[in-house]
Symmetry: C2
Subunit: 328 residues, 2 copies
């Protein structure tokens, strides 16, 4: 082969490589269009601006067990920072060791959800925050009692005044909700492998994860799991083996909502097991297979399952930096 022939061969090979890469990139780009990197913060409601004082107060309240009847249960008991801000048991354990009906959803990225609780009975984090304090199987305290307890501590008077400077009597249940919700909106997990991949780091996901991303789109998972938190925040009927929970129907009374649950976020799904409304499915393989069967009417092959589960692991982001507050 002459040097000229060699040069030609090299040029042809290079053109081939470039053309294959371009096709591959275009191919991937189509899939990437279905996803969004997680923003640093979720939407902040106009009537609950985010301030450092409110975040700090909300953090204190989130870790405050004295607003439970036993004095030992706080939001952080079930939404445990060491456990993906959930509890990793099937159903929540609360006051007096009582076991609830449902699995604890993670607080992580919950500001991106269009509704709160499995049945979406509260529209926002402000609405959610006061529920567990009052639930007799969770913290089991009236809001009036909780407010009285907080008022016993001088430091709460200071922190509520700093967080709500326009209020004459700032320690009240509305402000408890505003502060906790504000803190929760800081608990986001950016820079997951998917996020980094979407932002141009093609090495951020493994080959099986990229294959899983494609299958996630092609199989139709993305129809419900989309947007920054990978949920449509909508309700879908789902027959979970062993569950008699009527779900959204209990909120609306509408037969169409029977057994329907809000699509959960898939962000950090690998570290927020077990799965579904009663936590009865312990692992991702089982959860993905069940979703395929129930929602898409298909059984995934072992290889497909592996890819999808690999992709689920690409949704684990950076956990929030947290300095445990010193409570009074």
């Amino acid at each position: 082969m002459t040097p000229r022939q060699l040069h030609r061969l090299g040029a042809t090979a290079m053109a081939l490589v470039l053309s294959v890469t371009a096709v591959h990139a275009e191919d991937i780009a189509e899939y990437m269009d279905f996803f969004e990197p997680l923003p640093f913060l979720p939407p902040i409601p106009a009537d609950n601006t985010m301030t450092p004082e409110k975040i700090e107060l909300g953090k204190m309240l989130f870790f405050e067990p004295r607003i439970s009847a036993s004095g030992v249960i706080s939001c952080a008991t079930c939404h445990n920072p060491a456990l993906g801000w959930a509890d990793r048991i099937p159903r929540a354990v609360g006051h007096g060791g009582q076991v609830g009906e449902r699995n604890t959803p993670t607080v992580l990225n919950s500001g991106f959800l269009g509704a709160q609780f499995w049945d979406g009975r509260e529209p926002d984090l402000e609405g959610q925050a006061l529920g567990p304090i009052q639930a007799d199987i969770e913290m089991n305290m009236t809001l009036a009692e909780a407010i009285e307890r907080l008022k016993e501590f001088e430091i709460y008077h200071e922190h509520f005044a700093a967080a709500f400077p326009d209020d004459a009597d700032p320690i009240n249940q509305g402000n408890v909700a505003l502060a906790i919700a504000t803190f929760e909106r800081t608990l986001n997990t950016p820079n997951s492998p998917l996020d980094r991949f979407l932002q141009g780091d093609v090495q951020a996901m493994t080959e099986p994860q990229v294959a899983g991303m494609k299958l996630f789109v092609d199989a139709g998972c993305v129809a419900c799991h989309n947007g920054p938190a990978l949920t449509d925040s909508n309700y879908h009927r789902f027959e979970l083996p062993g569950s008699k929970d009527e779900g959204r129907f209990l909120v609306t009374g509408d037969e169409a909502d029977m057994f329907a649950f809000r699509t959960p976020t898939l962000r950090n799904v690998a570290v927020t097991y077990p799965y579904f409304n009663n936590g009865s499915v312990p692992d991702l393989e089982g959860a993905v297979q069940l979703m395929g069967q129930q929602m898409l009417g298909q059984d995934f092959s072992d290889e497909e399952l592996d890819s999808l589960v690999a992709f689920m692991h690409a949704l684990t982001g950076e956990m929030p930096d947290l300095v445990i507050p010193a409570l009074p």
Copy 2:
């Protein structure tokens, strides 16, 4: 006044100031001799060397609720980092909401104590660590079950192997105790106002605190509350109104130990209320007064109480930096 006279007057005044300061410093030095700054670390046992791997594993285990029967109670539930590593309720609440007989002692600086538990029934942190896991009113789990749970997680196999590289089968109860105790020995609170004062920062304590320090010596409190943790780690009979707890007698069966309890550390006493073996005294004023009456046979005046309580606040050190571990 001539410039020369003025100079002489100045020199005299300066000599007077120096002389007063010297007398004052000598006076204070005598009192300071009764106290020791808190070392950065307590004594490390020869048979449980401190390594970063053991500290990290111990931290994970300390926050691990899956070694409780309910799955939600960990060491950190009662030894809550947000609450001075104790719980700030009179008596501990554990499994199923059961209330124990005794107040939760803080873990802070517990490596400096000569014995563990209110009755000193364990000599060291290694001996203490496994107690609450098994107590039916605390975490309510057998050690065999706890070990089985830990073995379910691959990451614990890695961490135990890293912490105990010479062990063929490192996930065992002995190593759980060694790791938790090692982590606990890092939970110290140096640089309290007293520590800084003892190290030469004369501004570190307020005047009432210095007065309280002197009274603490003069009244005799220091007879039992001495050493780096301000405890002799010895047992003293104490009749706490309303308590029928027989204390050390339950361990030794010796009548001389009836109603005797181990002298608690006074480090961080201001942030580890309520006080005494059943937590029945809510505030420092009450606790100091009761100690004066019971141990020293004297009633402190209001002014004396104020000084002593001010000094108690000078014993609050810097809380440990803590990054919550990510559990599997």
